[in-house]
């Protein structure tokens, strides 16, 4: 730390709070953040692996959107992430730290897989209805338990939901070994590989169109639920202050339970989409950490489900791009993870510049004149 001298010397840089900033300007700052991140990444890429950064960026884009198939896979994965993020939104808005999306997605997936395996002789509409209901119920029950404990005994929901994830993983392992196919492979393999019962049908010739339709419907519905419904208002009040909620006559325990049921239900549905609409199999990595990544999606969007679309796409794009450059240039995963980290750092950092501004010494003197 440089100590001030006796002589008059102002600090070089000072931080001052901004007034409310207009929306376009705020987005401008975020854009500058992304551009700066790309520039910094360029230097890092060049310094470490001596590659042309523009080429690397090009192949990242190629990895995510290079072919039609790749584009659809990117869309599919973004929808998956978005769905979980949307599911987390009401819980986090209520300041209920639902770290258990991973487990809620898994049990939703297990329920879906069970329907696909045991009820494949059912007519398709009935089978789909069954899968949807089963996955929603499974996810909701998984979220209900921590909510009830929180309401009744004020247990810590962060630890509770987190530990429920491990239970879910064990439950999944159990069913994986039960449904093992072929015997000894320790995987379930693709379920109904030839008859495709319980698979999402292609709509307009697009295999993943239904994924987009379902998730976008949930996203829009959740936006309206949080913003315009009485339930959404209750969630906001409970999240801001429990005392105010009591004062307003809100039954906070009921709101906890109701909202977590909803949160778990949407996450369970995400498990249904993952199994029935994407992988057509179940394993302990069906959720694949997306239950945690979705927390970033929900928070960065400040629970605005429309903004979440953007963020989910960004994260999936970075992931796909990273995989592509890793295989193309024979790099290991760390380089791509560094790039991902730098970009996220700059995006989060731009929030600082949206709320604060810097004043430099010389500028201040100029102002004084």
């Amino acid at each position: 730390m440089n100590r001030p001298e006796k002589a008059n010397k102002d600090p070089l840089i000072r931080i001052a709070k901004r007034d409310a900033i207009s929306k376009p300007r705020a987005w401008g700052i975020r854009l500058i953040g992304v551009v700066l991140a790309l520039i910094v990444c360029a230097f890092v890429i060049y310094a470490i692996v001596h590659l042309n950064p523009l080429k690397v960026y090009g192949s990242m884009f190629n990895g995510a959107f290079g072919t039609e198939k790749r584009t659809w896979v990117t869309v599919r994965d973004a929808m998956m992430l978005l769905c979980i993020g949307v599911g987390l939104a009401p819980a986090f808005k209520m300041r209920f730290w639902n770290i258990g999306a991973e487990g809620q997605v898994l049990v939703g997936g297990v329920a879906t897989a069970a329907c696909m395996i045991y009820c494949k002789s059912f007519p398709a509409p009935l089978l789909f209805l069954l899968m949807i209901v089963a996955s929603i119920v499974a996810g909701a029950l998984w979220a209900l338990l921590p909510a009830v404990f929180k309401s009744k005994w004020n247990t810590n929901e962060t630890l509770f939901t987190l530990m429920m994830n491990y239970v879910a993983i064990q439950v999944t392992s159990f069913f994986v070994s039960k449904w093992e196919n072929p015997y000894g492979s320790n995987t379930v393999g693709v379920i109904n590989p030839n008859s495709n019962e319980g698979w999402f049908p292609a709509v307009f010739g697009e295999q993943y169109f239904l994924n987009v339709l379902i998730v976008m419907t949930i996203t829009v519905a959740m936006y309206y639920y949080l913003k315009y419904s009485k339930h959404g208002y209750e969630i906001a009040v409970v999240g801001e202050s429990l005392d105010t909620a009591r004062y307003a006559g809100i039954n906070t325990k009921a709101v906890f339970i109701r909202t977590m049921l909803l949160s778990g239900a949407v996450c369970g549905l995400a498990g249904f989409i993952a199994v029935s609409g994407a992988s057509h199999t179940i394993s302990t990595s069906t959720a694949g950490g997306r239950g945690f990544t979705a927390i970033i999606v929900a928070w960065m969007a400040k629970f605005n489900t429309y903004v979440m679309i953007l963020i989910a796409f960004l994260l999936v794009f970075l992931e796909k791009g990273a995989i592509e450059i890793a295989s193309l240039y024979n790099l290991n995963n760390f380089v791509s993870e560094m790039i991902e980290g730098i970009i996220l750092f700059f995006i989060l950092g731009s929030e600082f510049f949206i709320n604060y501004r810097l004043i430099f010494r010389s500028k201040k003197e100029a102002d004084a004149e």
Binding site: K6, Y228, Y233, V237, T244, A248, K364
Partner: protein, 516 residues
Amino acid sequence: MDTEYAVSMKIITKTFGSVIANEKVSLDIRKGEILSLLGENGSGKTTLMNMLSGIYYPDSGEIFVNGEEVVIRSPKDALKYGIGMVHQHFKLISVFTAAENIVLGLHSKGDLNRNAVAEDIRKICDKYGFEIDPNKKIYDMSVSEKQTVEIVKVLYRGADILILDEPTAVLTPQETERLFSVMRNMKADGKAVIIITHKLMEVLAVSDRVAVLRRGKNVGILNTAETGIQELTDLMVGHKVDLNINRSPRGELTKRLSIHDLCCTDINGIPKLCDVSMDVFGGEILGIAGISGCGQKELLEGIAGLQRVSGSIMYTAPDAEEPVEIVGKSPLEIMRSGIALSFVPEDRLGMGLVGNMDLTDNMMIRSYLNGSSPLLDRKSPKDLAKRVVNELEVVTPGLSTPVRQLSGGNVQKVLVGREISSSPAVLMSAYAVRGLDINTSYTIYNLMNEQKERGVAVIYVGEDLDVLLELCDRIAVLCSGHLNKIFEAAETSKDEVGFYMTCLDPEAAGKEDKTI
């Protein structure tokens, strides 16, 4: 270099965004004097002093300490120049002892020598007349003891210039007097003491000079001996102020609440209310006096259904014959059973309003359930917000501004406006003018009187006895959870009420074997 002035601040300006907190303020503090910094809330007193203590950095202007120009970038720098500040909200670690808090953050070599520290603390205490146990944990301390620790902490670090931010807000009259005598001792020792306050009586009682701030500007520095309450008030507010509170005549009294044997214990089983019984009438203002934490909060929250209580509270609606029981009902049940109860809680942004929500959304906190639609009706709350803003002259950039961005007075206007709008039969308010400027305070007093004239039963929990005596018709004095006595406001005095606040009525104490 030795000069007469301990600190000189010259043309200091500080802005937060577009808000000017201090505009070209100049201020000199002499050695060996007590200077009062007087001003309404939001007039920039604390901001100005925070620039001396290194919390904020001025946009422009110069600061001289002992005649030398200095740059204060951090509280550490401030201490280097002998400036120490005791903040309004104490910055102590409650699981540490007094001594540990006092040495916290000081870099000394080797292990902490507790005995030496305790010895030093004792010396300081003896010199200025403090009483403090260095080994007592903060969580065992009363507010006044905590404040003493804060002051000793600053002195221990060698401060010659002490800034006390509203030190008396949390003290009883006796504790205040003790603090003042300590301040006088420090003054005799040649230290410069600055006391930030908005209580005029204290300015006159303790200070040598008084600097008045209004809207961030220094509007005058006066010798305390040559001024008086009226002059200071006029300077502070900027125009002539009528300091009398009207007490409208009592209307026809009708019984609204009949409270019987109300008891309540806190989470640790410690009684907070003991057998409180009283009647509350429509058409009068019932004042509740007492040292803070003597059951005022529990009484109001008990009536509002927010606190589990035993006993009975019977409510008689204006148009009903039969009284209904409130005890045992949840706030929602109270609302649904048509009990017209309004409550302005003490914690405005923590209970009465949601800071991050805008005015419209805050208007419907207690009425959002109206209507059978699952969707919110934002139209009528919006109209209500408009009406409150117009009628109570709320200063706000718009209806979609989060209320936490409003000033304290405007926040309170929003809250009181909403509560009155539901045309209550009983209006309860807790510390309704705490932290408000004089004009807003009078607006609130007038609103209370208006409600009383409409036949509303107003319960007013207050801390300023002068106001209670002028505004209320009856004053109930709580002491440690007991209802000590109910006075006719016109027939009692400040001293009498103050006496009953601090010690139990011998009669009442006789009935109870165990008091808190």
